[in-house]
Subunit: 338 residues, 2 copies
Amino acid sequence: MKTSIKDIAKSLDISTTTVSKALNNKPGVSHEMRMKVLKKAKELGYVVNSLARGMKTSKTFTVGVLISDIKNPYFSEVISSIERVLYAKKYNLIICNVGENPGKEREYLELLVSKKVDGIIAAPSAEGQNLSVYRKLIRYGMKIVLFDRLVDSIQADSVVVDNRSATYEAVKYLDNLGHKKIGAIYGIEGSYTGHERLKGFLEAVKDFKIECHNDWVRSGEFKEEKSYKHAIEILSKKDRPGAIIAMNNFTTLGVMRAVKDLNIKVPDELSVIGFDNAEWMKVCSPAVTTVVQPTDVIGMTAATLLLDAIENDVPNLPHHVVLKTSLLERESVAPSGK
Amino acid sequence: MKTSIKDIAKSLDISTTTVSKALNNKPGVSHEMRMKVLKKAKELGYVVNSLARGMKTSKTFTVGVLISDIKNPYFSEVISSIERVLYAKKYNLIICNVGENPGKEREYLELLVSKKVDGIIAAPSAEGQNLSVYRKLIRYGMKIVLFDRLVDSIQADSVVVDNRSATYEAVKYLDNLGHKKIGAIYGIEGSYTGHERLKGFLEAVKDFKIECHNDWVRSGEFKEEKSYKHAIEILSKKDRPGAIIAMNNFTTLGVMRAVKDLNIKVPDELSVIGFDNAEWMKVCSPAVTTVVQPTDVIGMTAATLLLDAIENDVPNLPHHVVLKTSLLERESVAPSGK
DNA sequence: TTGTAGGCGTTATCAA
DNA sequence: TTGATAACGCCTACAA
């Protein structure tokens, strides 16, 4: 099996140099010689050894993608989009599924270094415990693009969404429809997205003079179960909000399940605004009005930025791309009854 | 940055051999020497170069995972499970997202070979156009585990679900509830899963003497849009089935959307059995009764089989694991009205 | 246009 | 216990 350029060279009685040049379309080989080499290579089933090539060229055409949960459709959509861009340039993706486990994140990062990846696209783990690791990597020249979760103190390219205005606009939208009592299930407090989305919400609550008890705003930690429980608690009370905002897809799922179990009529008795655009939200009854992140553009942008950084090795100032979310109107929101 | 064992050796004035032994916990180094080396390695921020190591050992601790669509929750669940098992043994995953594109599949397979992966877990692309490629890989000693889509003619370990009995049992279940008019949206005709599930359905239809017009059984090609359209057509007619079976998660989504748009009351006017267990199926109204594949076990089994093949290099006879599906009863099925 | 030789960072063999 | 040396497969000055 293992055919090397040496084998090709031997069987053609030429040097490995010539073979290498021929195979890589480098100048310095006659046309007929190149043809001869190509033919023999095919005949012997030659496949380049990327390890050996990588050692010489210090380029592996491999990129690490670090995320917290591949089962989250948000991430699988972004990955799919990253893959499309990178595959076109013959790069491979190593998937690092780290959960919210900083230790695992660190280990994966080291693994990526040892595998000599050309770059890393990462949504750093929530609490930002490994910032120093990222900083060190960058200092040593690793190309890194951050997405989803931005970390100001890291000098890397980044792609995020305007989380704050996303929730701000959601409240504004509800306010326009006459809603004055609004609750929210937000995400992980220490995380960038969790923090920003909550902040946007609270700002809007203040600006629009929304009634919002402390009790109506709780952290579902971006998890379905937790969100479900909090939604149940908030919505079981007599004095409950007329609208509720969920701040990611799992949270939205939890809320919708709570609503269903409590037999609350949406949107007549309660308006719900979700976050992210999981496929189920359109078949749900009622279909969920939601804040949509452009996952496709996020992935494409991140991949393009990384490719740029890799292929033009000029250490530019970091690019920070901020994308807009949009509100997709479906059926889960209605004007306030009173 | 780039510290090598040479640097450690130099700064300690010892040989690289000793450094290597110390770092890899190999015998032949005194305890104190090992400590000294470890300390210096940490101090210099040494990270092993996996490329170089791989060249010597011809082991890369990298595994390729080839699937058709990472956005399909079925696959992301399986991947997540594979990752859990492989990460525990320090293997990395290269994700190959090939769609239903045989050319891309071939290219990825070649890329994996050139990267010297230790093994491949693959759900071969639907039409099975690259069987000869898989066969060649196996002949040359590549460790391969197939899942989801089995191909009899390939001598590789495999993990699949008993697709035929899955749909057979679904029909039987409906029959028990008095349903005698049943339709189905099935998958890609040429694919293993598409074929098997349809076959199970047709067998049951025959065995239980179900009424099933040709027109009620159509291929949604495992795609939501196509399935939606066919469902609309089947269900718009006056003479329509009292129950319908969808044969994967996207198809189920299409059917549920159709049902919703046609304003058909499920399960009163129509019973629906879905396939796969996407998260939305439980919040849907009504929640979808569905055939569940044990994605977790599928991934775990595939990863374990591969690990086994890699680590005990005995070319055993291939293991063929067939797992059972289960029917998860929720709200979309009711006894037949008449 | 073609070939020679050296080295990328490891590990494995064998000798000291 | 330690070390010198070769080799994995490829690329690339440089020389012929």
